[in-house]
């Protein structure tokens, strides 16, 4: 019994503890105890307390003078024009960036898979942008989109002199989506690995049977890639809904004070919630907004999960093959 970690007692109630005294069970709970305690103390407890706070007028500092205000935070969130605007922005961003990102990554992977010469070079070119830290990426694109001196406007000026279009101010959402597409190399590498896991014989056999490239893709490649696509789609939705850092960097000035500035061109939903918490000191309202976001994430991922059985194919042996590569 020497290896039992001392965290044991804190994980379970007295009765169930006796049942768990069986050696292997104790070892199991000993090893996962750190995770379990962390889950309860660092994730579940803060989330529950945030849920409670979302029904109060908590300002972030003065806990004793905080009062329950019922559903009013949620009602305000449903009625506020700022919330509507920012939520709309976030939803459009998600609806555009996730499918386009997956499609771009898939196309790049298919192109690379068909080609043998210099493949490593092209792959590196597509993958390199993902190694640039997000803050640097946002600043690069901010400089590219700059209305007066940005490289994009200067390039357009070759054909249409004097262009000084305010890209971020007017087309901010598409700027963000483009920036997202630039970093699709991560998913491309994953797709590429999936493609290389597809058995050569299967494709040869289909070719002999006279299948054209579209049929090959539709009948063999896509079914084998669909589990990867499904997983990346889920992750993509979750990440896109909580995206706020590049939006804030792109649309605010490089002055620390303006960072939480409300009402910039790219006022995405998380930015709105954070701004309410950080600079307006309306923590109760802010966490209500965050809980709405959480529910939205759950609903959307559940919808995707429900539709997955129509388009995701699970073929066990090929999956294993893909993993070994």
């Amino acid at each position: 019994m020497s290896a039992h970690t001392p965290y044991m007692t804190s994980t379970s109630t007295a009765e169930s503890f006796k049942k768990f005294l069986h050696r292997e069970g104790t070892a199991f709970y000993g090893f996962i105890s750190l995770w379990l305690v962390g889950l309860l103390v660092l994730q579940l407890f803060p989330m529950i307390s945030a849920l409670v706070l979302s029904f109060t007028n908590f300002n972030g500092l003065d806990l004793p003078n905080t009062a329950f205000v019922g559903w009013s935070n949620y009602l305000e969130a449903l009625q506020s024009p700022d919330a509507h605007y920012s939520l709309g922005l976030t939803l459009i961003y998600t609806g555009l960036s996730v499918p386009l990102g997956l499609a771009t990554a898939l196309i790049l992977a298919l192109l690379l898979n068909a080609r043998r010469r210099l493949r490593g070079l092209y792959r590196t070119a597509f993958y390199l942008p993902t190694l640039v830290p997000l803050a640097a990426t946002a600043l690069i694109f901010k400089a590219i989109y700059e209305p007066n001196f940005g490289i994009l406007n200067l390039f357009i000026s070759i054909f249409r002199p004097g262009t000084a279009y305010n890209w971020i101010g007017n087309q901010g959402l598409y700027c963000l989506v483009t920036m997202h597409l630039w970093t699709c190399g991560t998913i491309m590498v994953i797709f590429l690995a999936g493609l290389q896991g597809i058995p050569e014989e299967q494709i040869e056999a289909a070719k002999i049977d006279g299948a054209n490239s579209w049929q090959l893709f539709r009948r063999i490649t896509w079914p084998l890639l669909s589990p990867i696509t499904y997983f990346q789609l889920m992750l993509g939705i979750i990440n896109a809904l909580q995206m706020w850092v590049p939006a804030n960097i792109l649309s605010t000035t490089t002055d620390a004070n303006s960072f939480w500035n409300p009402k910039h061109a790219l006022y995405v939903y998380p930015s709105y919630a954070l701004q309410q918490m950080m600079s307006s000191q309306r923590v109760g309202y802010g966490v209500a907004l965050i809980w709405i976001l959480f529910v939205l994430v759950l609903v959307l991922t559940q919808i995707v999960r429900k539709t997955s059985r129509f388009w995701v194919h699970y073929a066990v042996e090929q999956e294993e093959g893909a993993r070994e590569k």
């Binding site: 290896a3 970690t5 768990f20 069970g25 199991f28 000993g30 090893f31 996962i32 750190l34 995770w35 305690v37 962390g38 660092l42 994730q43 803060p46 307390s49 945030a50 192109l111 080609r115 070079l121 092209y122 070119a125 597509f126 390199l128 190694l131 640039v132 830290p133 997000l134 803050a135 640097a136 946002a138 600043l139 400089a143 590219i144 700059e146 001196f149 200067l154 000026s157 190399g185 991560t186 590498v189 994953i190 690995a193 990867i228 997983f231 809904l241 909580q242 706020w244 850092v245 490089t254 620390a256 954070l274 966490v287 965050i290 809980w291 976001l293 959480f294 994430v297 991922t301 893909a322």
Partner: protein, 289 residues
């Protein structure tokens, strides 16, 4: 046959155009870092800098005029290395438990683990922020200031727990029996026998955690300030241009790009030396279904 050849040429052309498109912003970052602010506004645009401003890099490396570069990079590294070590070890502990022992309730906790993987970080981070600030854990003196970022990693990250579980589950049962006979306790068995064999899982975890923490922005904005701030936030908010007389925001851009280039260097080096592991890690993170 001719058609096939044409499509091959088309695909090659497409690949060349696309890869140039992907490299252009990187190239832009590098040349802009070497331009004077006023060079940005020349018309028609000049692609290469008329005068190479290597002094931007010199100023960054040898002085604190523009940004406290070494301090910020040091902070980033402190945060990142400790974070990586914490996640690599604590995730292995839980992963080992899930992989090697049978227990009642294990399936339940395993599905809880998988569910937490899908938890949006924002949804846990903001409530954590409220709790930590109530406990006065925010804004502590220097090394302790990273505590609010390290503490949530102490239980391990769900995804890496899963990764370790998959790895440890492949090792033979005899390993434990042999260790047991030699009188090795369970923690010792884990640390002395299984961890040294877990190389691939450890490398994957370290690379991904390193990359994610090194580029972290949101958490740093919440928890860190002034002297403890990391490079990501500093380069966005704290670039100072001594006696700038050119129209805003021009003077900032070359310096931002200079810092950006320097910021990328450690990750690029890591990638250059561990490219194979890098790509393998990514694949490991993406093929899971």
């Amino acid at each position: 046959m001719k058609k096939k050849l044409a499509s091959r040429y088309f695909m090659t052309l497409l690949l060349i155009v696309l890869s140039l498109l992907f490299v252009t912003p990187l190239f832009f970052m590098l040349v802009t870092a070497l331009k004077r602010p006023e060079d940005l506004a020349t018309y028609p645009m000049s692609i290469m800098p008329p005068v190479y401003q290597w002094k931007h890099f010199k100023e960054l490396i040898f002085s604190n005029d523009v940004i406290h570069f070494w301090q910020a990079l040091g902070n980033t590294m402190t945060l990142t290395f400790v974070q990586t070590a914490i996640v690599a070890i604590s995730s292995a502990l839980a992963g080992f438990g899930f992989a090697r022992y049978k227990a009642r309730g294990k399936n339940f906790f395993f599905s809880v683990l998988l569910a937490t993987m899908m938890l949006p970080t924002l949804v846990t981070m903001i409530p954590q922020y409220i709790v930590f600030s109530q406990l006065h854990l925010v804004g502590m003196p220097y090394p302790l200031s990273y505590l609010p970022l390290w503490l949530p990693s102490l239980p391990g990250w769900a995804f890496f727990i899963f990764l370790y579980r998959q790895f440890f589950a492949t090792l033979p049962k005899e390993l434990e029996d042999a260790a047991m006979i030699d009188g090795c306790g369970r923690l010792r068995t884990f640390w002395r026998i299984f961890m040294p064999m877990a190389g691939p899982a450890i490398v994957t975890t370290c690379i991904l955690v390193f990359q994610w923490t090194y580029t972290e922005y949101g958490g740093a904005v919440f928890y860190l300030s002034n002297d403890a701030q990391v490079l990501a936030v500093e380069m966005v908010t704290h670039i100072r241009i001594p006696n700038a007389n050119v129209l805003y925001p021009l003077p900032n851009i070359p310096y931002q790009m200079t810092v950006g280039v320097m910021y990328c260097v450690p990750l690029l080096l890591l990638f250059a030396f561990a490219q194979r592991y890098f790509l393998q890690s990514l694949v490991a993170s993406g093929l899971k279904s």
